[in-house]
């Protein structure tokens, strides 16, 4: 399973599918139960952001292997309105979306690596990686 798998996110049920996809892959890669829960929570948050702010987009999950270092990468893509002030949304306490109230800073803390690119009126791409310890 080294090809990317994606789930389209258009409604709340798709969030569950994205979680399921992420959990299966995390399990297969050998992540422990806590990390599985963290990865799926990160996926939930990212998928929820797509559903709430962009309307539609997709979540892709891929296993990665860099020089024998194994991990899992989540990529969240949408063609939504984009984020005008990235610095703001990365501040604790900024998010108001409900959910876990964790927002993007929470996702960043759950994962090991995190990057975000966003262009207003074009869309947003967030990628987050968890390494297998």
């Amino acid at each position: 399973m080294d090809i990317q798998s994606c789930v389209e996110v258009r409604n709340e049920w798709d969030i569950v599918s994205a979680r399921q996809l992420g959990r299966n892959m995390a399990k297969e890669l050998g992540f422990g139960n806590v990390d599985q829960a963290r990865i799926t929570t990160a996926i939930s948050e990212l998928a929820r952001n797509i559903y709430l702010y962009a309307g539609r987009g997709k979540i892709c999950i891929e296993p990665i292997d860099q020089l024998g270092r194994k991990g899992l990468r989540i990529v969240a893509l949408d063609n939504g309105p984009g984020i005008r002030e990235i610095r703001k949304v990365m501040e604790d306490g900024y998010t108001t979306s409900g959910g876990l109230g964790a927002g993007l800073p929470g996702v960043k803390r759950l994962m090991d690596e995190f990057s975000i690119e966003s262009t207003v009126d074009v869309g947003t791409e967030i990628s987050a990686t968890k390494w297998l310890r």
Partner: protein, 335 residues
């Protein structure tokens, strides 16, 4: 053994002891263990996972439903883990901010510190104590030629913005040419600076005075500042030292009225910030007369001792909790 293995082992020991004999002692140890977990920044979902791991070892034949219920609990704990980590990150940020404020406060102290000059004809006493970390009161002495000028200012507003504003006032005053040392003109100048540079919700009150030893005259002007006192030794009486004028920063065209007073031997000019008269005791605000009574009580001491004693008494009256920055200055003519 890694720190995590050590924790797992300790938890397993404690839990198995507790399951055998349910004693309060073990529960107490459990509580202490949770402190250790916090020290090592173990988040809630990690603890649940630890519990699952230990239970797996202690009860290999655990029912599947029980086992699955733990996984569900773990998932449900993730939110608390989120909140815990956010709390940690905010706490770090707060500590960082506090240490930055600490640095700023000590910088302000160094910047605004005004030496009390040696002046043969006058005995000068000063006390200026901030209520919080940063002082919103400002006082300044400048010796120029034979004369001595003194300024007391108070920012309406507290904390960091007030302190920043104060620094600006200091530099504005330093950069004014010396021939404009006439108090009412100096205030007019400063008023323009403040009006242009300071946000309209911040006001500054100021008293400025110049003592000329040749004529023994004290020239002064005020911009909405708490009136000081004048002690007339010949009559042995205290009067309010009133200098009317609009606070700085309201209107660009404000002008200030010049005042002057003859100072005789033994007379005192007493300047203060509203932190002195707005001392609040259990009986309410203290009256200006009470401040006068305190000054009178210590009047025979050197000026520095007077202001220190008055401050100590008022501080004690308020239960050592200053509510506002406190500045008290006394100038007494000696010869």
């Amino acid at each position: 053994m890694t720190a995590k293995d050590a924790l797992t082992e300790r938890y397993q020991d404690l839990l198995s002891v507790y399951l055998k004999a349910k004693t309060e002692t073990t529960l107490y140890k459990g509580q202490q263990f949770s402190r250790k977990l916090l020290e090592q920044q173990i988040s809630p979902e990690d603890l649940v996972s630890l519990h699952i791991q230990v239970m797996d070892e202690l009860f290999p034949d655990m029912s599947e439903e029980m086992r699955d219920s733990f996984d569900f609990l773990l998932e449900a704990m993730i939110g608390y883990g989120f909140a815990y980590r956010e709390h940690q990150s905010l706490r770090d940020k707060q500590q960082q901010l506090e240490s930055e404020i600490e640095v700023a406060a000590s910088m302000q102290q160094t910047l605004l510190l005004s030496d009390v000059p040696e002046f043969d004809q006058l005995d000068i006493g000063v006390v200026s104590v901030p209520a919080k970390k940063m002082n919103g009161d400002y006082y300044n002495f400048v010796k120029s030629g034979n004369s001595l000028s003194v300024a007391v200012a108070d920012i309406i507003g507290k904390g960091i913005p007030a302190a920043l504003c104060m620094s600006m006032i200091k530099y504005a005053m330093d950069s004014l040419p010396e021939e404009q040392m006439k108090p009412h003109l100096l205030l007019e100048n400063l008023n323009r600076v403040v009006e242009q540079n300071v946000h309209s919700n911040m006001f500054i009150t100021m008293f400025h005075g110049v003592y000329e030893p040749e004529s023994h005259k004290f020239y002064y002007a005020g911009a909405g500042h708490e009136p000081g006192f004048f002690y007339h030794a010949k009559e042995d009486e205290f009067h309010d030292l009133i200098a009317k004028g609009l606070v700085l920063g309201v209107s660009r065209t404000t002008t200030y009225h010049p005042y002057e007073k003859m100072i005789e031997v033994g007379d005192m000019v007493i300047l203060l910030s509203d932190g002195v008269t707005e001392c609040r005791t259990s009986k309410g605000f203290i009256e200006r007369e009470e401040v006068v009574a305190l000054i009178r009580k210590y009047m025979d001491l050197p000026s520095q001792k007077i202001v220190e004693n008055v401050f100590q008494e008022l501080d004690r009256l308020q239960g050592f909790e200053l509510r506002d920055d406190f500045t008290l200055i006394i100038l007494k003519r000696l010869v």
